[in-house]
Symmetry: C2
């Protein structure tokens, strides 16, 4: 196991009706003037925004609002948010929504005290200073509610890039699983897929002897396999929603990813798809993951055989572990299809003729390394080959 530090000081408030306590926690963490950041109509229509505002009113906390966050959140709204916060002297940012809203709020939080362009952070910087933020989560997916990470798409060039920094960990996170019950099945399934991807990105490691974190990742994958189909079948299953919600946070707060190298190839390759076609991140990952794992299979057959046996219930073929490993990838693909995810370029709305461009942007884009991937280093040609497996 590698040396590491781990620090996850987010205060989690989990359960029914907990959004009514939002104001109390903003106050507890020092907020006096809040930016409420959110996406579109559902947060308004469901009455959630009103309940959150009421809880702020009850604590005499002032606020301004900025809605309009889109999936794959854009830099344009971030600049607008930074300006608004500075003008209104906002000292706390509250994200009410899913991963996109939280990531947009984190970008604003980083940008407000920073003299330069906030995008600098998304080209390789670490965020050490930010306006404190809290979240009210409405979808189990990104894990951004407990993580130090943020992903933003820059409109000029449609680059989708990530940053990180302990200053971006939310001070508190309100998690009411019931808020996710109104999500369309497709979005629920996208969230499940994103959580599964966060687990595989950590599972694919070159560090040896990491039984504890291997087992933890497997535990969270098993939870998704158990609960995923239950919420697709019955969207109002509170307990299944609750298990997915806690698993989604644990999958990405990194307690199961410490002390080991990680991969993030699937995320990097997917980001180009959702940046270009504006498809759902989770849907993109469903198409990308089996292709990446198949392409990288020979790098460590036993690792993929292990997840096949321990998670997907495959019988180990002791004479031919590769067969077991492939069976595990097929089991993942079938599971994702069964919950309504696409399985190829066509179903995703991606185009074969864009493959060269996609691979080039993935490997060069605005940060010109020419390679991607933490598990196997892949060049532009490799990435092209991987995209071709998805056609």
């Amino acid at each position: 196991m590698d040396n590491f530090t781990f620090y996850a000081p987010t205060y989690f408030v989990f359960g029914k009706d907990t959004e009514n306590e939002t104001g109390k926690y903003v106050k507890r963490f020092g907020g006096t003037k809040v930016l409420i950041h959110y996406g579109g109509g559902s947060v308004v229509r469901s009455g959630l925004l009103d309940r959150v505002k009421k809880s702020l009113d009850e604590e005499n906390i002032g606020y301004v609002e900025l809605g309009g966050v889109k999936p794959n959140p854009r830099s344009g709204l971030v600049y607008k948010g930074i300006e608004l916060c500075r003008k209104e002297k906002v000292d706390f940012i509250l994200a009410v929504g899913g991963g996109s809203t939280i990531d947009s709020a984190k970008a604003i939080a980083a940008g407000v005290p920073y003299d330069g362009d906030f995008w600098d952070y998304y080209q390789g910087g670490i965020v050490n200073e930010a306006v404190p933020l809290g979240t009210v989560v409405t979808i189990s997916a990104a894990g951004s509610e407990g993580s130090p990470d943020s992903v933003i798409t820059k409109e000029e060039g449609m680059y989708k890039r990530a940053t990180t920094g302990e200053a971006l960990r939310p001070k508190f996170t309100i998690m009411n699983p019931a808020l996710t019950q109104t999500l369309p099945a497709f979005q629920t399934a996208c969230g499940i897929t994103d959580i599964i991807a966060h687990l595989y990105e950590r599972y694919l490691t070159n560090t040896k002897e990491v039984e504890c974190t291997d087992r933890m990742i497997e535990a969270l994958l098993l939870t998704m396999i158990h609960e995923g189909p239950r919420v697709i079948e019955n969207p109002n299953h509170y307990d299944a929603r609750a298990n997915i919600m806690w698993a989604g946070m644990m999958a990405h707060n990194n307690s199961c990813g410490v002390g080991r190298t990680q991969d993030w190839t699937s995320h990097n390759i997917e980001h180009e798809l959702s940046a270009l076609y504006d498809c759902a991140h989770g849907a993109g990952l469903a198409v990308v993951m089996p292709a990446v794992f198949t392409y990288n299979l020979s790098h460590d057959v036993m690792r993929l055989a292990q997840v096949a046996v321990r998670v997907w219930g495959c019988q180990m073929d002791f004479y031919n572990p590769e067969r077991t490993a492939r069976e595990g990838i097929e089991a993942l693909r079938s599971f994702l299809t069964s919950i309504g995810m696409p399985k190829n370029f066509e179903e995703l709305g991606a185009k074969e003729e864009d493959i060269e461009k996609l691979a080039y942007t993935c490997c060069y884009g605005d940060v010109e390394t020419g390679e991607t991937g933490g598990y196997v280093r892949l060049n532009q040609k490799d990435v092209e080959n991987i995209y071709r497996l998805m056609v």
Copy 2:
């Protein structure tokens, strides 16, 4: 799943040589005058104490020392520590040792700013104010390095009691698995047993639909089964030590115990044994757990069958799940015996003629509830019967 809050803001510094950074972290968390609290000779002999002091010197941080913590730490030394801290105007407490030292440090930390007798907290209070503390862990066992809990034995009456409170979570914890390599095999095995007990205490729940935390607990149990025998066989196995150390922390920081009722019967029943006979806590638990689980078996056969199948690899007897459940308890007992733990009163040094007294103290003691146990409520007669199963 039940509503809950979860907050675990300890900064973990994990890996080789990390004890040399102790001073840096004391400074980071605001300490200027430190009480170094430790047990006996091994911390001194190994040179660890000198390395820690050197790191404090390097940051120009002053310190006083208080050694002499014993296993099952006593109230007497706590009073001494409180007095010393007040006299020397200590503003940070550093525990260098295992669970006993950390728990003693927590008691001192709670007592310093408190006007009354610190023991009040151990009779049912919650600690909301304490001197900040950090830890340098030398044994994987108690999980106290990442928890808000502390257990102390009061010398008058030999009551062994626990308290809790977020103020008792360490600000930082230094975890160098190599520091545990010099432990005698018996102590290592006691630590493994304590970790397993922390997991079972959470597993035995009356809350339904807790798949995520069930799976996480199982993952950590599987880690102990994999790594335990490896460190007993080869005490210098760094990676096995490392996996046990992270699993031990995760087992008790409560991320795998949220949203569900917990048990703690085995701990309560064991505390009377280590209080009366001064046996090792882990050794006591090895004798207690199989007896408790057997006595409570019929309360929820399927729960014990589940752990038998998922963790101990038993084949499910679909016609007779109780047989599977019993097989799982036997597998636990065999495992504990295989790593050198005692299996009955005699091997532990406990006496059958004390059973009535033990059961009375457990159920009445200084807090007169007349019952114990979060999974099944047990009265004095039940507890007597459980002790008899250990003879």
